[in-house]
Symmetry: C2
């Protein structure tokens, strides 16, 4: 009875799957328990906690809510930043306001702003309530940071940092660090920033250097006893574009960078972990944009926004595809006479589209990595043209021969070879020039360039192939 057998098999599979799911649930619970009771060997990160909570939610809403309440304020804060919207909603509904305020106070200023803005998206009233309960220092910091544009370095900095006046002794500074560390107010300290009486940033002294000096010296004496320029600080302007800050981190292998305002006054610092996030986000943005996908919409939990953003690109694509079809339409008589043309058409457009995408992708990415300077543009174009020149010739000949053998019409081979060469050459040229031009116009070269490229290569491909065929073969 094969039917029965397959049925029991499916049942078994279902059982196994259920068991696996249940094991997930137990494992997540266990890990969260040992985190809460601080018995675990490995600390859980905010991402981990969020993942385990998600597993709980899938199986048992009540357990999930109880764990939201059980988490300590710091873990809750770390997790909240990483949560998808629906989970943060659960937090806002189930966790008492006092604990939310406490959690917020555990975060550093940049993360406070991020979380508060995130809460504000979901529940404005709640965000306002939480903000009102924060202590005045936190409020002031948050207001300061939210004044920056999202592309400005200032929006990414944290206000907490370790600084000292030039006339303070090392000991005084270290004593202050001790109390900052004991209250847990300051993490990831790698540098002491030395400022003058007006708060202007003068020097940046790595702790690895500070620790080897005599603690009774003043900061000024430390600086003067070192090599000239030893402690000259690298810094970012608060109004500087964050992408330029990322470049500085990469060029100089930094772990932290002080941020100053227009008068040179030290106002905050940016740490390396924020830079990691920015690099990843930028890369995701580029990859998605090249494929006609919106990175922010994809991160939403609902299908609607992601689907809608994709539909817009598909609509644009439909529009350009219709233009290409109109081009084909001009040659309907030719196609009726030589149906081989309809059979070979997609190869010409597909190959040139591909060659163009190769050039486009390399150019977009190299622009993003800062590998192409203004002066370098000619060199880039030369390289890309060189590549498509050779590849165009190779594949033109190859396809010409294939078409000749397949349909046994010599001139058809010639026509498709010429069309292929022309369209691959154009594709390589356009794949390079489109992003370079968009960049020059200050438009993100990853957005829309694929659609534009495909539209143009299709049009050129079909036109040259069918046009040459009409001219030569008819």
């Amino acid at each position: 009875m094969p039917k029965n057998e397959s049925n029991s098999k499916t049942n078994d599979e279902n059982d196994i799957q259920k068991k696996e799911l249940h094991e997930d649930f137990l494992e997540a619970k266990e890990l969260l328990d040992s985190h809460i009771n601080e018995t675990s060997e490995d600390e859980l990160s905010g991402v981990d906690i969020t993942e385990h909570l998600k597993t709980l939610k899938k199986h048992d809403e009540d357990e999930y809510t109880s764990y939201l309440e059980k988490l300590d304020a710091e873990s809750l804060a770390d997790a909240a930043i990483e949560m998808p919207e629906h989970m943060l909603k659960d937090v806002l509904e189930n966790v008492p306001k006092e604990k939310l305020v406490e959690a917020m106070e555990e975060l550093e200023s940049d993360d406070q702003v991020e979380l508060l803005e995130y809460i504000d998206d979901i529940d404005e009233v709640k965000a306002r309530e939480i903000f009102d309960e924060l202590d005045d220092d936190d409020k002031e910091d948050i207001l300061k940071l939210s004044n920056y544009d999202e592309d400005e370095a200032g929006a990414y900095m944290q206000i907490e940092l370790f600084k000292a006046n030039l006339d303070e002794t090392v000991k005084e500074a270290v004593d202050r660090l001790r109390s900052l560390r004991h209250t847990g107010e300051l993490e990831s300290v790698y540098q002491l920033f030395a400022v003058d009486k007006k708060g202007v940033l003068k020097y940046s002294i790595p702790l690895a250097d500070l620790i080897i000096y005599n603690f009774s010296l003043t900061i000024d004496e430390v600086v003067r006893s070192a090599k000239e320029d030893e402690f000259r600080p690298k810094f970012a302007q608060d109004s500087e574009h964050i992408d330029d800050v990322v470049t500085k981190f990469e060029k100089f292998d930094l772990s932290v960078l002080p941020v100053v305002d227009s008068r040179g006054v030290l106002v905050g610092r940016i740490t390396t972990d924020d830079i990691h996030d920015i690099i990843q986000e930028r890369a995701t943005e580029q990859i998605y944009n090249l494929a006609g996908v919106d990175d922010e919409a994809e991160e939403e939990d609902t299908l609607f926004k992601a689907g809608k953003a994709r539909a817009i690109w598909l609509l644009l694509n439909l529009f350009t595809a219709l233009i290409a079809s109109f081009i084909i339409g001009f040659f309907d008589k030719t196609i009726e006479t030589i149906v081989a043309l309809a059979i070979l058409m997609p190869i010409v457009s597909g190959m040139s589209g591909n060659a163009g995408t190769q050039a486009l992708t390399v150019t977009v990415r190299r622009l993003a990595l800062g590998e192409i300077e203004f002066n370098d543009k000619k060199g880039v174009l030369k390289k890309e043209i060189g590549i498509v020149l050779v590849n165009g010739l190779v594949f033109a000949c190859l396809l010409g021969i294939v078409a000749y053998i397949w349909f046994d019409i010599a001139m058809l081979g010639v026509v498709i070879a010429c069309a292929m060469f022309i369209s691959i050459m154009f594709a390589g040229f356009l794949g390079t020039v489109i992003p370079l031009t968009l960049k020059k116009l200050n438009i993100d070269p990853a957005v829309g360039s694929s659609v534009l490229l495909t539209a143009l290569t299709d049009i050129i491909g079909f036109f040259s192939f069918l046009g040459l065929a009409t001219w030569i073969l008819l």
Copy 2:
């Protein structure tokens, strides 16, 4: 005389361009000069120096060579790592061996290995000669590091670090740090790693904590006076995959991670700047692979390798396009009868190719970012199917109406709508399943998945459209 006018205009433009080029040259020279004489305000990074040298090379080979010789050993070393192959060749030819050895000794162990392997690619004999001249410690370190696979954490670590035994006092450790700093042997120190007598890593103490303790305490006493687990170290195994190390840095916002061998003995450390490079490289790799471009070949200075790598993907694409053409070939009689089919064909394949690429790109990137776990696969597929279901319906109707209006054949509208819906659904399904399957088979889901996807969506698109047309319209 318009002709003359335009001629003089071109001359002017040429002059301006020449002037601009010359200004570049002078600027590069000036910046290098002030770097060499240490009179500049801003330090030049290895990348900067390489860029300026490149500018010199473009204009004046002799000046360029003289600057290669003028640079101090450290700057030369920093720049050499960043140079394209042809420039490193110039360095090897023009800089005396003693200075090359000196430059090599300025680098930290991980960079030494990188540069030496790079030199070895160009000139094996020279690489061997330089290696032989290094002091024994450096040689030993290099041999140790080159034993690791390129994906292992060990290959990315540097051996230089700041460590202390548990029974040492803070003062003893700091004294050692002082001499390490004075000889310039150790940079970017953020942590003291505490080891037992066998060298096994026990604790990791941030300098920001170490500096606030009484220097006469032993490390053991420092640890015991802190909160339990305060200094429990996060670490990487030397044999661990480097991608897992990157994940650790991101989850825990680290700036440095100690590396231990299988017995737990501390063998090196990985710093955040190496992680930046890896993140960028991985992103480039994904973007390029999705477009059928090889990231390593593109970095070469010659066109040949990049062009060849791209040609391989184009060849594969030609092959799959031919299969699609064969499918069309089955329906030659249908096309001859209804030439509108040939006109509309590219829209079906283009749209479904696009919808598939959207799903593919999101899945590939989310896999790379670790956002998709094994258990999550069903959820991902559900989401992607949901999106193409709605978008498929929308665009099927839309195109159906357009086709009906254009050609005034009602059933043609029905045929293309059905074909469009079928092929977009398949595209979304395949765009998700292909990378998930490749990942499960331990194949990089970014490599080749685009070609495979386009081939399948083309075949399904053409087959459903022309098949339905033959069945319904003839």
